[in-house]
């Protein structure tokens, strides 16, 4: 094997070793939990789930102690028309990420507890077929300006 080829392979092996043995198998990032707007009955949560494990995972349900009901939904826009439908589950293949983001998959939060206000902590318990992911964030009023 040439020196150049060896130099290219080493970083890949190191990365694989880090992913398989050291890094967390599932990572949640970009968490934004938004309070219901005046007049609306639902808040919304956006986040990214990255599956670094060696198998696909399926998110089956999400709960929150601060909200009576949590549902996964997906907004699609086709021919300029926005449609929102509930999702029963979301599969994340190994080595991939799924974004829950504005204009796509998102998490709906219904029935906030009376003591849940802007600035208070909100916990999401994300149940998948291999365990439970727990993430907490402060309840915001808006997404950061783009």
């Amino acid at each position: 094997m040439s020196r150049l080829a060896t130099a290219c392979v080493w970083p890949i092996l190191l990365l694989a070793a880090c992913t398989a043995d050291n890094g967390p198998p599932i990572v949640i990032s970009n968490v934004h939990i938004l309070a219901p707007l005046p007049g609306s009955n639902a808040g919304v949560a956006y986040l990214t789930i990255t599956n670094n494990s060696d198998a696909a995972i399926t998110v089956r349900s999400i709960r929150s102690p601060q909200f009576a009901r949590v549902e996964m939904h997906e907004t699609t826009i086709s021919d300029g028309v926005s449609r929102m439908r509930p999702l029963n589950s979301v599969q994340i293949a190994r080595g991939t990420s799924v974004d829950f983001a504005a204009g796509g998959k998102h998490i709906m939060l219904f029935g906030a507890n009376p003591q849940t206000n802007t600035g208070s902590p909100v916990t999401l318990e994300i149940e998948h077929d291999d365990g439970l992911l727990i993430v907490s964030a402060t309840l915001q009023t808006r997404l950061p300006a783009d």
Partner: protein, 205 residues
Amino acid sequence: MQASRRFLAIVILFVAISGGAEFIYYAFFDQRARPEHAMVLPAPMALPAFSLLDRNGDPFTRDSLRGGWHLLFFGFTHCPDICPVTLQQLALAKKRLAEEGGAFPGIVFVSVDPERDSPDTLAAYVDSFSAGIEGVSGDLEQLHKLSKPLGIYFARSGDLDGDYSVDHSAVVLLINPAAEWQALFSTPHSVDNFVHDMPLLTSDR
């Protein structure tokens, strides 16, 4: 016969030269900026007559849109996703242009969910994005009078235990001061797109 052929040849030559010159002018010499994101209608379309209620419960009609530029966006307050994002983008674009000394059309949020969106509800909702946004709605017949000629679709979906969603067009329509539909922003929307195009779209009247 030969004279008419010569005349025809001269006409064709003239058209070719003038067309070519026009192309060269616009391609290489006309440096005026043009809208890059909105689709401008070939001819503005007069809005149909309709009668809705504004955020104060007062009549909101075609005449309410005369005399100034406006943006219409159709949605509903229980929409957790595309409606707040779009209204936030419009509010941010308005703020950015105001900081540069520019004007921005009046923003009108048309609720297609009159069952849940009363004037009071709409007022509280639109005020959470920016002061000065109008929120209007009315009975379904009047909403359809406005929406159908503009190609705006909406329909209730997913009724479950009294909760439901509303499928709806997510475009933003630009209405000129003569209460005519002038241009259309298709999805996906962005603050930058609105900021770039709006002064160009509203500067010719």
